[in-house]
């Protein structure tokens, strides 16, 4: 603490002010103002290593509105089951997983149960697939930065993410998925997928795609990244489009030497929130409530050759998109069932391994190992007092030194024990 310093006041020299306290407060405020760790990052970059599969099933769960009237819980549970049973799937909750806390009737969905129960429910469901959920993204209904939660500066999405040990993102995330290309060489390539909740108002599903694209590009272009695929939610529409963007090509010194054409796929994802009073009164577009499976693959561009190499990329993303549920029903589509079968998790292996390796056989084979590990553990205890030192003395040196000299614990003769 700085020493108190009293100086006469400006208005009355007989009034003394503690200026050191004021200086301290000012320094503290300046420090806090400069500190950017409080600022929410508009784009969080998240690398994902996926070295095995050349097909990835990316399922974006936007606008689940868990607990709200009209939210299809059965479909949500079946979606989680699909993710759990497929080995190459990734699930990204893209905002509005929960409802807001303003009083009912005021710009929010109606509740069947409150957020406390909704968080417990989602934690229970997502716990079984937590290893396939890279991030949880805030929406306008459940994000701390949205008007609905700002008064108390909390976010149920963050609470859920902390509970499950999953990273939480406030605005948007750029997933850089490293995966093998689908050719015989299987070279690892990076697929850039941007996912955010998006925001704004739209007059129809077609425009929602344009808004999603424009907002994403505004953020990413500043960082010099043109993604391959963009996912957004918020509009409760089910529309997509392919936007052609020009990507500048620079040489090593930074000079622009050309332009290559990139096809960016933009998806305004569907919702699990079906028609409700709020949706009707808000004039939401007719909801095509469903969950879509997006199979992503990196393929060679068929239009790339010696004459087009300056304007076309050699590798492009191929997306196959199909619905998980049938129209007007909670049943899986035949395509979803087929996909689950083709890319099934090898659940049979657990039983197979436990039968093949009985507890006794493992015990016998690692009996010696157990002893070795035990020895190392005890040896480590001995060296813990000086872990950085490398012992160079031989056994004979140690033995001879210990037997003739006094112990180092206490020069008075006490061994310190």
């Amino acid at each position: 603490m700085a020493k108190d310093k009293y100086t006469p006041s400006k208005n009355n020299p007989n009034f003394l002010e503690n200026t050191s306290r004021q200086e301290q407060a000012l320094n503290f405020t300046m420090q806090i103002a400069r500190d950017k760790s409080y600022h929410g990052e508009a784009v969080v970059i998240k690398p994902i290593l996926q070295p095995i599969f050349s097909n990835i099933a990316l399922v974006v769960g936007a606008d689940v509105h868990s607990g709200a009237v009209g939210s299809n819980a059965v479909r949500e549970e079946k979606t989680i089951k699909f993710i759990r049973n497929t080995c190459n799937s990734i699930y990204v909750p893209a905002g509005d997983m929960f409802n807001s806390i303003i009083k009912e009737g005021e710009d929010r969905h109606e509740d069947k149960f409150g957020n406390l129960r909704a968080i417990e429910r989602e934690a229970y469901l997502l716990a079984s697939i937590a290893n396939k959920v890279p991030v949880i993204i805030d929406g306008n209904h459940d994000g701390a930065n949205g008007k609905r939660w700002m008064p108390i500066n909390m976010s149920p999405s963050k609470h859920l993410a902390d509970k499950l040990g999953i990273e939480h993102v406030e605005f948007g995330v750029l997933l850089q998925i490293q995966m093998p290309a689908s050719d015989y060489r299987r070279e690892q390539r990076i697929l850039n997928v941007y996912v955010s909740h998006c925001s704004g108002k739209t007059s129809g599903s077609a425009k929602s795609v344009d808004i999603t694209f424009n907002k994403a590009m505004a953020e990413l272009k500043a960082r010099g990244i043109i993604p391959d695929v963009i996912f957004g939610g918020h509009f409760h529409s089910n529309a997509n489009g392919v936007f052609v963007t020009d990507v500048m090509q620079y040489n090593k010194s930074g000079k622009c030497i050309g332009v290559k054409r990139k096809d960016t796929i933009v998806v305004s994802e569907s919702t699990l929130q079906e028609t409700s009073r709020y949706a009707q009164s808000g004039g939401f577009p007719p909801s095509d409530s469903n969950v879509y499976i997006n199979n992503l693959k990196i393929v060679k561009n068929p239009y790339y050759n010696s004459t087009t190499k300056d304007t076309q990329f050699e590798w492009i993303v191929e997306m196959t998109r199909f619905p998980m549920f049938r129209q007007g029903s909670d049943e899986y589509t035949d395509e979803a069932k087929e996909y689950m079968k083709m890319f099934a998790e090898p659940t049979h292996l657990e039983e197979q391994i436990s039968k093949q390796y009985s507890s006794q056989s493992i015990e016998q084979s690692i009996e010696g190992l157990t002893q070795v590990v035990s020895d190392f553990k005890s040896a480590r205890f001995l060296f813990e007092t000086e872990p950085q030192q490398v012992v160079t003395e031989t056994v004979e040196d140690v033995a001879s030194s210990v037997s003739t000299t006094e112990t180092s614990f206490d020069s008075s003769g006490n061994d310190g024990m």
Partner: protein, 464 residues
């Protein structure tokens, strides 16, 4: 002079007064209905249109909104795979047609057909309009070049070709409509040749081909008073080649199920779009609004709009094939293949279509599955070993030797070959565990576990 606010009302009043003055009739009592107010002429017989007149007009339309063609998906065929091939703009040289010249367009098509798997699915290649381009019109022929190998082998202008084929009159008789028509037809013929070749190539793949007129074909048909795509079909004369009449049509699709039952659904095609010149973003919004009411099939495919994607409920905007590099400002910008022209349709129930955007369902690579299974297996084995190891370690309360450093060093010296404590202390536990894993993997072949050989053997202090 009175201000002219409502000009048509004033004009109407004026004509009526003039008529009545000249006919001698009373303005207030006798107003005839059978008068053309614009011209003042009396129409001899005038009948107000009724509902039946409207029905008759619809019925007498030359092209019915429902096509006569029915696409049938047999029982053994899984899905209906559509590959769209529209906006080819054949031989339009004003913008270099890289796709066609370099054959990459054709390569993409053959890849798509292969992925669609004609053996297991019904594959239809739809030529959805805008195939023949615009450079057959006279105003565009000034700089047009036609590549013909049999005349000099060099690039020459149409005028030179026309003069060779049609005589000197062709060059001078630019104003002669018959000569012009022949020249244009010649240019068109060159384009149709390429189209025919393309269709024959596709037909060689055991797929069905459907031709649909687009805006460009409609213009050609109107000018030459022919049905150009129909002539192509007649010339090729193949059973798997069909024509779908009209530019806004609905086609029935039938899926044959067990017992020869059929499930029906409808697919709509919109190929003549008047909003093709708008910018991409606006076009999609306007297009959906315009097309939402025009075609109410179960699924609607809209072609030749330069927008690709699903824009409305069951409305799919298909991308074209032209690979233009540059376009004029504000006119169909960035026209390029966007790889959004393949769809797989399944009909689980009548009038319920599941659409897979993109190619057919992806197929897993067996090698990847094997690698993943092996990875999971190793994880499970490791998990079991670690669990077992932990149980055993928990059972060991005190090590064999005490905390005396001399005795410890002696103990390690007797057990391991290294004479310094350093070598022993630096050996990480994990390496030993990994080495053991290799041996455990070998246990698969033997029922009884082998002795672990990687760990140094005992020198006499005790059995392992």
């Amino acid at each position: 002079m009175a201000p002219r606010k409502n000009q048509s009302a004033n004009k109407q009043q004026e004509i009526l007064e003039k008529y009545l003055r000249e006919s001698g009739e009373d303005f207030t009592t006798n107003i005839r209905d059978n008068v053309n107010w614009a011209t003042g002429d009396e129409v001899a017989s005038l009948k107000k249109p009724t509902t039946m007149d409207y029905f008759r007009e619809i019925r007498n339309k030359t092209t019915s909104p429902i096509s006569e063609e029915i696409i049938v998906v047999e029982e053994h065929q899984n899905a209906l795979n559509l590959i769209f091939r529209n906006a080819l703009n054949i031989r339009d040289m004003g913008n270099p047609l890289y796709g066609e010249e370099n054959k990459s367009n054709r390569k993409n098509l053959s890849l798509n057909i292969e992925k669609a798997d004609p053996k297991k699915n019904k594959v239809c290649v739809i030529y959805g309009g805008d195939l023949l381009g615009t450079e057959w019109e006279l105003k565009r022929l000034n700089n047009a070049k036609i590549i013909t190998q049999d005349i000099h082998g060099d690039l020459i202008t149409l005028k030179e070709v026309a003069s060779e084929v049609l005589g000197d009159d062709a060059v001078e008789g630019v104003t002669n409509p018959n000569i012009i028509r022949k020249a244009l037809f010649f240019a068109l013929g060159e384009k149709v040749k390429v189209l025919r070749r393309d269709i024959k190539y596709v037909l060689s793949h055991d797929v069905d081909v459907y031709l649909i007129n687009g805006a460009q074909e409609e213009k050609i048909n109107k000018y030459f008073k022919i049905n150009v795509l129909k002539t192509v079909i007649q010339e090729i004369n193949h059973p798997r080649l069909h024509l779908i009449e009209g530019v806004n049509t609905v086609v029935n699709v039938a899926k044959v199920t067990k017992g020869n039952n059929r499930r029906y659904a409808t697919i709509g095609f919109l190929t003549n779009n008047s909003i093709s010149k708008a910018r991409q973003g606006q076009q999609s919004v306007a297009g959906v609004k315009l097309n939402s009411g025009e075609n109410n099939a179960d699924v609607v495919f809209v072609t030749n709009t330069n927008v690709a994607g699903k824009k409305g409920t069951n409305q799919y905007y298909v991308s074209g094939e032209s690979t233009y590099i540059t376009m004029a400002q504000k006119k169909m910008p960035l026209l390029s293949p966007k790889h959004y022209n393949t769809f797989s349709l399944r009909i689980p129930k009548s009038h319920e279509i599941t659409v897979i955007e993109g190619h057919n369902m992806p197929t897993p690579v067996q090698l990847e599955k094997d690698i993943y299974d092996e990875f999971v297996k190793q994880q499970l084995i490791k998990q079991q070993i670690m669990q077992n190891l932990q149980l055993q370690l928990d059972g060991i309360t005190k090590p064999a030797h005490t905390a005396d450093p001399v005795k410890t060093v002696q103990y390690f010296k007797s057990r391991y070959k290294s004479t310094t404590a350093t070598a022993v202390a630096e050996t990480p536990v994990e390496t030993v565990v990994n080495q053991t894993q290799v041996d455990v993997a070998n246990i698969q072949q033997d029922v009884e576990p082998k002795n672990i050989t990687t760990v140094p053997t005992d020198d006499g202090m005790g059995e392992m």
